[in-house]
C-alpha cells in the first residue's frame, strides 16, 4: 500500500494525539517530596530563574531570591505589597498593590513601567518579550500591552469573558490565562481579548489566587479551598492536591518538580512527578 504524504500526516497526527492522551493519563503521579520552611517570609508569587527561586514576600514588602533549601541569597526591598511578579530577560517586573505601579528591577535600579491607564491594586503581571499582561484587581480587567498597542480584556461580571477580582495572569502561545479569583475559575482569552475557554468552573474552586501554565498543564491554586488543581489544556481535571498545603497562593514548575507557596504556612511544598512504568 502506497502511503501518500497526506495519509502519512494523518497517521502522524493520530499517533501524536494518542501519545499526548497516554501521557496525560494515570501513569503520571505527583508525589509530595518535601517542605521548604521560609521562616518569616509570607509568599504570594513564585518564579524560577537561573537556578534560583524568587518569592514576593508581601508581609515584609520585598522580593527574595532563595536557594532550594529556603536560604535567602538576595533581597530586593522597599516594595509596597508585591504580588504575582514576572522575570523576563533578566528584568524583574513587580506589581505593587499599594502604589498601583509595576516596578522594573534591573541592573541594581528600580523604575516604573509606563502604564496606559490608572490601575487599582495590580495583583499580577506576566511579561513575555514585548507582551505584558497586568491583572488589575479592583478594576476587574486585564491590561495587555504589546509593543505600544493596548488591549483591555474583560470587565466586571460573572458571565463568559467577564472577570471578578482577577489575581494572576499568564501569557502562553498567544493566549492570556487569567486566575479569575472570585468567579472561582480560570478564563482564557486570545490577544484580541476574545473569550476562548473556561477551566475549573465546575470544580468548586474557592478563590483562584494563582495560575501556572505549561505545555501540558494548567495549574490553579485554590486559596480558600486549600487545594491545587491540575488540568490539561482541554480543561479536564487530572489531579487535585489537598495534603501538605497551607493556603496556597502560587505555583512554579521546574522540570519534574512543582513548587507551591503556602501563605499561612510560610513555606513551599515541593511535589515530584513520578513516571509509573508498571502501568505503561
Amino acid at each position: 500500500m502506497k502511503i501518500t504524504k497526506s495519509r502519512f500526516l494523518n497517521l502522524y497526527g493520530v499517533s501524536l494525539m494518542f501519545l499526548l492522551f497516554a501521557s496525560c493519563n494515570s501513569n503520571e503521579q505527583w508525589e509530595f517530596s518535601k517542605e521548604i520552611k521560609l521562616n518569616d517570609i509570607q509568599p504570594i508569587g513564585i518564579v524560577f530563574d537561573k537556578e534560583n527561586l524568587f518569592l514576593s514576600d508581601v508581609k515584609n514588602n520585598r522580593l527574595v531570591q532563595i536557594d532550594l533549601d529556603g536560604n535567602i541569597i538576595k533581597e530586593y526591598g522597599s516594595l509596597q505589597r508585591p504580588m504575582h511578579f514576572s522575570i523576563d530577560n533578566g528584568k524583574i517586573y513587580v506589581p505593587e498593590y499599594l502604589t498601583d505601579q509595576i516596578k522594573i528591577i534591573f541592573a541594581g535600579k528600580t523604575e516604573n513601567l509606563p502604564l496606559p491607564d490608572t490601575l487599582d491594586a495590580p495583583s499580577g503581571v506576566d511579561v513575555k518579550g514585548d507582551n505584558i499582561a497586568i491583572a488589575d484587581f479592583y478594576n476587574h480587567r486585564i491590561i495587555l500591552q504589546q509593543d505600544g498597542k493596548v488591549t483591555i480584556i474583560g470587565k466586571e461580571g460573572h458571565k463568559d469573558g467577564e472577570l471578578y477580582y482577577p489575581t494572576d495572569v499568564e501569557i502562553r502561545n498567544e493566549m492570556v490565562y487569567v486566575a479569575d479569583a472570585y468567579n472561582n475559575r480560570v478564563q482564557i482569552f486570545d490577544f484580541k481579548g476574545n473569550f476562548i475557554k473556561m477551566i475549573g468552573n465546575k470544580d468548586h474552586i474557592n478563590v483562584a489566587t494563582g495560575i501556572k501554565v505549561t505545555d501540558k498543564y494548567v495549574v490553579i491554586s485554590d486559596f480558600e479551598g486549600n487545594r491545587i488543581l491540575i488540568y490539561n489544556h482541554q480543561g479536564e481535571l487530572l489531579k487535585i492536591f489537598s495534603d501538605h498545603l497551607d493556603k496556597p497562593t502560587d505555583i512554579e514548575i521546574v522540570g519534574s518538580f512543582m513548587y507551591i507557596t503556602n501563605y499561612i504556612g510560610k513555606s513551599i511544598s515541593v511535589f515530584k512527578l513520578i513516571q509509573n512504568k508498571k502501568n505503561q
Binding site: Y97, A121, A181, Y263
Partner: protein, 130 residues
Amino acid sequence: MKRSSRIPFTKKIKTMSKSIIILLAIFTIGITSTSAQETKKFTGTVKMEVNGLSCPFCAYGLEKNLKEIPAIEKITINLEEAFVTLVIKKGESVLEEDLKKKVKDAGFTPGEITYAEIPKKKKENENNKK
C-alpha cells in the same frame, strides 16, 4: 365609651399633651443616640471585625483603602481571625462612619469596632478611681 365621656375636656387636653411630650422626648433621645453612634470617634488602638476577608488580596485591598484615612498610623490585618487592628496617630481621632465606609468601599462588611487597648485618658481615670 361611657368612661371617656366622663373625663373633662381640659383634662383630656392635658393628658394628650403629656403623651405628646413623652413621645417627643423618646423620639429626640432616639435621634440623639443614633447621631451619637454615627459620630462616634476613636482614638488610640482600635480593633475592627471585618466580614468577607478570604484571601491576601482582600486583606491588602482593605489596607489600601484604610490607608486613605490620614489619622491612621498603623494597620495590621489578621486574615485568619477576620479583624483589623488600627493604631490612630497621637492627638488625632477617626470617625466610626469613616472606618465603616472604607471597609464597604473595599468590598467587605464592617463588624463591631472596639478598643484594642483602653485609651490613655480612660485608663488614667480608672487608675485615679483605684
